[in-house]
Symmetry: C2
Subunit: 146 residues, 2 copies
């Protein structure tokens, strides 16, 4: 059993955020002691791990709440839950692709400014055509500048 302060440190999340998640129904009825103080157990800890991951995958609080509710409803929601994870898997894979594309452009720009700084100005590098670029830079450029 853990207090809210301990969990806050474990996850590096503000106490106010944990109370907010609880209030929003993401933590499925946290136990309380006789004076109303939250006692988090291992199931809540596991729920928080899942929450962090679903948040990272782009899911909203209210959708996470819905999922957490399914978890309390037993086997009849197994399929829904699986389908939800499959959707989030696709979502996150798409997001990684988009980030990798943005990264290409950023790497091109790093090269561009490197060259410009060598010359003291952008005149030369601004006019370099893809053909004149080093191969690994050409690759970045062509992805992101059509």
């Amino acid at each position: 059993m853990y207090t809210i302060g301990e969990v806050s440190k474990m996850f590096n999340l503000p106490i106010s955020t944990l109370r907010y998640y609880d209030k929003e129904g993401l933590l499925n009825d946290v136990d309380r002691d006789s004076s109303g103080i939250r006692k988090f157990n291992d199931k809540t800890i596991e729920a928080l791990r899942v929450i962090e991951c679903l948040k990272k995958s782009g899911m909203q609080i209210k959708e996470i709440k819905e999922f957490m509710h399914w978890c309390t409803m037993g086997d009849k929601t197994l399929l829904k839950r699986k389908e939800m994870f499959i959707r989030q898997k696709e979502h996150i894979e798409q997001e990684i692709k988009e980030l990798e594309n943005a990264l290409e452009m950023i790497k091109y720009k790093c090269w561009y400014y490197d060259e410009a700084i060598k010359d003291g100005n952008e005149k030369r590098v601004k006019n370099i055509t893809p053909k004149q670029m080093p191969d690994h830079i050409k690759k970045y450029f062509e992805h992101t500048h059509k």
Copy 2:
């Protein structure tokens, strides 16, 4: 030269967003015709490509504005601009790592629910230890459940 409606279609961005970016100073003084209508040129188009990419890399509007302002200040800001792209490169690489971690957990959950659905309930799969998992699943589990 393009109208705001054309640019909106090119980038699949609402017209209101383009006007908002202009107002916030992300587009460095867009040209206007004699009756005040915006005429976007190729420099603005390129700026928009950079904006989309910087936004994807997690940069805020006001930081992008600052960068765009540096671009109007000539060669003395080349180093700042390069350093900015290097920071965003690191930021986006970190973000990709975190998404890949979340993806591991999600893949584990996909497997978990697959097994549960085969059995009709979670009883068996809930008690599978990492040692009993298929190797490619074990890998997902161990990253994300310690």
